[in-house]
């Protein structure tokens, strides 16, 4: 019996009961669509995080304050180089005292209202930072320049604008040399960054960059300033990529332990690399993936049982038809293939519809749900082959039942 005939017969069998076939496929449709949508959501999240990490710049080591050690208590607020986590001068010490370090950046965020001429913008992100920022974070200056160490040391009121911010404040007019009112402080614009775009969910182009000392002095609410002093949460250390990273980490740890007068076993800081963050992320994603795999497996199992159920009903309903086919020469294999093909067709058709629903759903999640989704081609392949496997596995038993029917019994069936 030729394959195209088998498919033709199976199609006829299914289209006789359109509603029933559709409902039977529903389990597979939902299963396959769920797999594709969930993998798309997880891939989107993963991609966002990946971009955030690479957006930080390359060859980075992160030094974080380790508050869990309770470092705030002992040295007292504002007591400078104490056990109270990281302070601004730690960054300078790392830049000067550790071999293989090519740049150090400290960031201190804030948010202020900005005015330039007639234009007023509420709650613009301000980032207090250091001169190495553009190289460490891979940012390029479009016009003007970035601020210098000297300006930072003297707390000079200068600003560098992100490209979108510059356009919103000044339109087509050249911003360099203009002044902007940030809160109550007048800053002189010395440069504008080239467009960088979104990195993760941070818009680098809609920010104002200024020396960190200016943020400490002008844009940190006084109650925090007293408490925090010149503490920082995070120091970005750019390394040359030649000195072994473990060696640099050890040097930083020894240096900070000495400066903070703590033991390496009980540090008040944490040194991590991009790789550490990626590994942590990978582990989280992996766990999420495993969960998805289970969800998919269960929904496909339920779909498969649905197919098996309806195939059993179909074999019973069509016993007489089976008998007729047997009486004119259909062998057990012919009958087996006929029903297996029907089961397979149900699951593959369900798979196709599920893929369409899945891709559409992933798109809708992205457009309407505000979630980033990336449809992974492998997920389509995975979903489709699972659907096929379900069809074969759950179709086999009913097909075998049909194949083993006795022709005389089958013909007698009403």
């Amino acid at each position: 019996m030729r394959a195209n005939k088998v498919i033709q017969i199976a199609w006829k069998g299914l289209s006789k009961n359109k509603m029933r076939s559709l409902l039977t496929m529903l389990g597979v449709i939902i299963g396959v669509a769920a797999v594709i949508i969930m993998i798309a959501v997880s891939a989107g999240t993963e991609k966002t995080i990946e971009e955030q990490i690479t957006g930080l710049g390359s060859n980075l080591v992160f030094v974080q304050a380790n508050f869990s050690r309770g470092g705030f208590g002992r040295g007292g607020p504002g007591s400078g180089e104490s056990e109270g986590g990281l302070v601004y001068s730690d960054a300078d010490a790392i830049a000067e005292g550790v071999a293989g370090v090519t740049g150090v950046v400290v960031e201190q965020p804030s948010s202020e209202m900005i005015k330039a001429g007639e234009v007023t913008l509420e709650a613009v992100d301000i980032l207090g930072t250091t001169p190495d920022f553009p190289s460490v974070r891979d940012m390029n200056i479009e016009t003007g320049r970035y601020f210098t160490q000297q300006e930072l040391d003297r707390t000079q009121k200068v600003a560098v604008l992100g490209s979108s911010l510059a356009e919103e404040l000044f339109g087509d007019a050249p911003p360099v040399g203009q002044t902007v009112m940030v809160g109550n402080t007048k800053l002189t614009v010395v440069g504008v960054f080239a467009e960088k775009g979104l990195v993760g969910d941070v818009d680098f182009d809609m920010r104002l960059y200024t020396p960190i000392t200016v943020v400490f002095q002008k844009f940190t609410p006084s109650q925090f300033a007293r408490f925090m002093g010149d503490r920082v949460r995070l120091i970005y250390v750019e390394v040359d990529g030649e000195t072994p990273i473990e060696e640099i980490i050890l040097q930083i740890e020894l240096l900070l332990a000495r400066r903070h007068d703590v033991s390496l076993e009980e540090p008040d800081f944490l040194v991590t690399t991009q790789q550490d963050i990626i590994d942590t992320q990978a582990a989280t994603t992996e766990a999420f993936r495993n969960l998805l795999a289970w969800v998919a497996a269960v929904s496909l199992l339920v779909g498969g049982i649905g197919i098996m159920n309806i195939m059993m009903v179909s074999v019973t309903e069509r016993t007489r038809e089976i008998g007729i086919r047997q009486s004119v020469g259909a062998s057990p294999n012919d009958i087996r293939w006929q029903f297996l093909t029907e089961a397979l067709m149900l699951s593959l058709l369900g798979g196709f519809i599920g893929i369409a629903v899945g891709i559409g759903g992933a798109y809708l999640f992205g457009e309407l749900g505000g979630m980033r989704t990336v449809v992974v081609p492998e997920s389509i392949l995975l979903a489709f082959s699972s659907a096929a496997a379900v069809g074969i596995f759950f179709g086999f038993y009913p097909a075998n039942l049909a194949a083993q029917l006795d022709p005389i019994e089958a013909l007698r069936h009403e």
Binding site: M1, R320, V328, G329, S331, P332, L411
Partner: protein
């Protein structure tokens, strides 16, 4: 063995059930049917004639004894081999037509070609021509697209006969072919079978009705799983025992 012998069965036994509930539906039946015979098989229900037809039609296997169909021993074939024999060698006509519902007359007639494994069925166009030819032979050229529910009983039975003819079987087995028909339609069907017979077909049919059996050349009567009488029409009833019949055929 003579080429003219189509069916040769010897000591055919079929036992259903087990132990005390055992039923000997066929009890050592021997029989020879030659080419171009038109045989009627008669007998009360439970006499074994339907069991015999099922075994002759390769729908069932005997418990014991041998069955040689057109020179081939088919008594010990497996299910798949029996399916091939049914497809290639036998044309079966049932009392209840057994046509596929919602399927046109032409498609019903072409159904056996679907399971033809030896490639002689030809391509789609050749198959269709074959189907049209047998439908013409049974006088239904104007009903090829009709579905069973749109046909009369007599027309449905003619479709079934066309289906039985399509693979050029060595024998046509008809199990009460007129049982569901009024006498007019029944007569038409018998005229068709007689015509096929006169064109060379070998036909064995089961019937209850003497008027139908009257069309046959030879009438075999069954009782209790044995052949009671086996006579040519018009002859006097011969009262040969099974033993004598089997001796005679040796």
């Amino acid at each position: 063995m003579s080429e003219k012998i189509i069916i040769q069965i010897k000591d055919l036994t079929k036992i259903y059930g087990m132990g005390d509930a055992q039923v000997r539906a066929l009890d050592g039946v021997s029989l020879t049917i030659e080419e171009n015979e038109l045989v009627a098989v008669m007998g009360p229900s439970g006499s074994g004639k339907s069991t015999l037809m099922n075994i002759l039609g390769c729908l069932d296997r005997p418990t014991d004894g041998s069955y040689i169909l057109a020179g081939e021993d088919v008594s010990s074939l497996n299910k798949t081999e029996l399916a091939i024999i049914r497809n290639q060698r036998i044309g079966f006509v049932f009392q209840s037509y057994n046509l596929l519902a919602n399927t046109s007359a032409l498609e019903n007639v072409m159904l056996p070609l679907l399971y033809n494994r030896n490639g002689s069925a030809g391509n789609n166009e050749e198959q269709k021509q074959k189907g049209l030819a047998v439908l013409e032979a049974v006088g239904l050229s104007d009903r090829i697209k009709h579905k069973p529910q749109e046909l009369s009983g007599g027309q449905m039975q003619r479709v079934a006969i066309a289906r039985a003819l399509i693979n050029d079987p060595v024998i046509i087995l008809a199990d009460e072919p007129t049982g569901n028909l009024d006498s007019g339609s029944g007569e038409e069907i018998m005229r068709l079978l007689v015509e096929l017979h006169s064109n060379g077909s070998t036909i064995v049919m089961v019937t209850h009705e003497d008027e139908i059996a009257a069309y046959a050349q030879r009438v075999i009567r069954f009782r209790d799983g044995r052949i009671e009488t086996d006579q040519m029409n018009g002859e006097k009833t011969s009262l040969l025992s099974n033993e004598e019949v089997s001796l005679a055929s040796e």
